[in-house]
Point group: C2
Chain length 310, copies 2
Amino acid sequence: MQCTFCKSHAFYRREHEGVSLCKRCFTKSIENKVRKTISEYEMFDYKDIIAVAISGGKDSLTLLSILNRLKMRFPLSKLIAITIDEGIYGYREEAISLAKSLTESLGIEHKLFSFKDLFQVTLDEFLKKQNELAPCSYCGVLRRRALEIAGRSVGANKIVTGHNLDDEVQTMLLNILHGGVDRLMRSSPVLADPDGRFIQRVKPLCYLYEREIALYAYVTGLKFQHIPCPHGSRALRGEIRDILNSLEDKHPSLKYTAFSSKMKLSHIIANHKVQLNSCRICGEWTSGDMCEVCRVLLENREIRCLIREA
Amino acid sequence: MQCTFCKSHAFYRREHEGVSLCKRCFTKSIENKVRKTISEYEMFDYKDIIAVAISGGKDSLTLLSILNRLKMRFPLSKLIAITIDEGIYGYREEAISLAKSLTESLGIEHKLFSFKDLFQVTLDEFLKKQNELAPCSYCGVLRRRALEIAGRSVGANKIVTGHNLDDEVQTMLLNILHGGVDRLMRSSPVLADPDGRFIQRVKPLCYLYEREIALYAYVTGLKFQHIPCPHGSRALRGEIRDILNSLEDKHPSLKYTAFSSKMKLSHIIANHKVQLNSCRICGEWTSGDMCEVCRVLLENREIRCLIREA
């Protein structure tokens, strides 16, 4: 199999574009896609302070590594890596150490923020106290808030996450099939808040297939965490992932089409204004009178442990 | 197994509501759901002239039969059955004869409209002349227009179709996975056009599972067509149908949740105004400068065969 571009030995067939790629052209194509996404959505500005959320997995470490390469295009901007330690025993430790190694080798500042410090409870402790079956949904609510606090604390005006095309399409379907259409709005690859209440979130990997990010990480020798989160059974999301993978096998580029539908929907929904109020407990913005974080913590009889950072 | 409501012998378990039903309570529940949908969405008015699109299949004949029962609530309204004969050899003939039998037995006026008369070409003839692989999408475009012309011709101010919950959810996913988000707008169960350019479409069966409509048709002794359309391979829709059925088995009421997501999306999208223009060929309303019907017919070198009904 020959590389479609340079005719040297190809190691990978990209079905959704009908091309074969050698390692060099493959890594170049991935970096170009990220560059193109950033430029198309005008994700960064020259003086940005960019908090890159890194978990220690393939997506976020690939993200940091590529952003570091592209940094020369934004000489006055600053990258700071942030990691949220949810407090998952036997899992998060390795991830943190891998995240540390990469940031040290790239010379990028790295800050840790823990659920324990922010919410006075680790995820493990929290999950022990309640009987619900969806650890990921609790963790998601708390992690989103933790990222916001972390971003403010390092003075960032952008928070960058490693969400990939598969994540985006899975989440869209999950929101549709499981109820949660309003959340579609919150998941644009450039989630800006015109009123400046939240730090802008951007997702430069949103056009990359998960499997290609894994391949990129292998090919470029990135060391990332392989074991999955012990809480991550994620029943319906897992089923949806399998369904999408099998549909993509039969209809190459279906995930792309689905993602562009998501983009159109997010755009329309984003123009559909939602009134936001201050949470009566912590003062953060919410569509109701109490934010999801306080609801989750109070329902589980945790004390009020969030102080709004102004 | 006992009927949850009257304690007599139950013949069916409705998993998504966790109830068991005897035949009498089952048919009553189906009719009540239709009545509730009609009333919740204010589908009908007292003086409506209602064109009921009947194909001869279980959905549309169930629809006509239930609407006929409910008619006494709208004494001044009028039901007219309309059937579109696409010209599908060996298939449509039986369906038309079943549709005729039912309308005769109910004493409801029944009018036939054919692709041949409206577009000067049968579907079979049309499909022979082109090599594309999606007969359903061509047929859909032409059938929608045929229904509009039929509705105008019988003086209807409402067109009622037998789309069920499964159809609605499948179509939503198809539009999302296959590209066609704009079409979500056109598929509300009460599709009104504030400017009166199109006859209002309503779908009173949109909250009924397909399998329950089939069961209702069997239990009430309706004679309907069983053989599927010979052109209806419908690759991706078939896969999506199987996926949704298997998800529903594992997560009862998932289709309901998905449908309510669709309703929210349609609502938001419907408020997102789209500019409509007159088709430069036939004068019908379209978002571009040429409508889909003319595009389809012209691409296939058919002559212009649509005259706008004022």
